[in-house]
């Protein structure tokens, strides 16, 4: 039995330490906001935070996450009021929505480390998160909006 801290809650997990973290989150803990995309760290749909970094949970083994702090889209903010979430809703960013939790988790790290990103900063930082619907222009717009909200103290 392994102890895993997810969204500030401790879970006892009966799983092999080599099991992908994504499997644990979705299949054992029921946190299905994080998606399976490619399974080989190429698309970003499975992005969650491990100790604040936007890791690919499809290739990260459970054993690496034990002892750390995992944050999924369900735990990004207490009331779905992270500036990015507010901006995402305001600008209706998602189309099919499948990649969007990964997009948000990646964007959250960008905004934390670069509170005023340029278009180029955003385009480069988000290049690892693919969107088959092509919502990139709205993603970029929403990150700018979230940066302003963050500056104004809106959201978390």
């Amino acid at each position: 039995m392994l102890t895993l801290l997810v969204n500030q809650q401790s879970h006892q997990v009966d799983a092999d330490p080599d099991m992908p973290l994504l499997w644990v989150l979705r299949d054992l803990l029921g946190l299905i906001g994080t998606k399976y995309g490619c399974g080989v760290a190429q698309c970003g749909a499975c992005t969650v935070h491990l100790n604040g970094e936007a890791i690919r949970s499809c290739v990260t083994k459970l054993g690496r996450a034990v002892g750390g702090q995992v944050t999924t889209i369900e735990g990004l903010s207490p009331n779905n009021d992270h500036p990015l979430q507010l901006a995402w809703i305001e600008l209706s960013v998602p189309q099919c929505g499948y990649c969007q939790s990964g997009q948000l988790m990646a964007a959250a790290v960008l905004l934390r480390e670069n509170p005023h990103p340029t278009d180029q900063d955003i385009d480069k930082a988000m290049s690892g998160n693919l969107c088959r619907c092509g919502t990139y222009p709205r993603i970029r717009q929403a990150i700018h909006r979230a940066a302003r909200l963050q500056q104004e103290g809106g959201g978390v």
């Binding site: 080989v40 970094e53 936007a54 890791i55 290739v59 990646a106 790290v109 290049s127 690892g128 998160n129």
Partner: protein, 200 residues
């Protein structure tokens, strides 16, 4: 006459076989030809994709046996560990991920830092040898530390265990380390600018 010649040869051979007088030389003999020859073997390894891909000329790491720029606009970042949501260890695990086209891994996976990028890509043998020996350009390493890095460092050693679909360097790690040692022990000579690359 024959006796005189015979005696002379015996005496002469005795003189040649005698150990040199005085204390041993403080340093082994420097052999610039052996040094440069060994470096050319070292150069072949350093310019192989497994080494060069993490010593790029630009701000992006390289990938694959064709050394194309890393997909996803991955960049070096100030400490060589990537930027924002694209830090190296976000995808690269402490070990190779199984399967083709999956992220290779090592606990220390990173590029050289931005202030000392240690570029291999595009360097001639002469340029690379001089760069490797310059502490201002090699991460502050002495020759001994340079040898340690090349012969024993775990991240460098990943090159010989690169996982599926990646060709290892042209020499084995022990053979590479031996050539580094020959290069350094013989004076760490840099090749002339016109030294041709080995075709082996």
């Amino acid at each position: 006459m024959k006796i005189i010649i015979g005696l002379s040869l015996i005496l002469l051979s005795g003189v040649l076989a005698a150990p040199p007088p005085g204390p041993p030389a403080p340093h082994p003999t420097k052999d610039s030809i052996a040094s440069v020859k060994a470096f050319m073997s070292v150069y072949e390894v350093l310019m192989s994709p497994r080494c060069m891909n993490c010593h790029p000329a630009g701000d992006a790491p390289l990938q694959g046996d064709d050394s194309h720029p890393h997909t996803m606009e991955v960049r070096r970042g100030p400490d060589g560990r990537g930027l924002y949501a694209e830090k190296c260890s976000n995808c690269h695990q402490p070990e190779n991920t199984a399967g083709l086209h999956t992220p290779p891994g090592n606990p220390k996976w990173r590029l050289p830092p931005a202030d000392t990028p240690m570029i291999f890509q595009g360097r001639t043998p002469a340029q690379l040898a001089r760069q490797l020996l310059d502490p201002k350009l090699n991460g502050g390493r002495t020759k001994e530390q340079l040898y340690e890095h090349m012969a024993k460092d775990d991240l460098v050693g990943w090159g010989w265990h690169p996982g599926e679909g990646r060709t290892p360097p042209p020499l084995s790690r022990p053979a590479f380390a031996a050539q580094v040692k020959i290069w350094l022990d013989n004076g760490a000579f840099a090749p002339k600018e016109f030294t041709k690359k080995s075709t082996n």
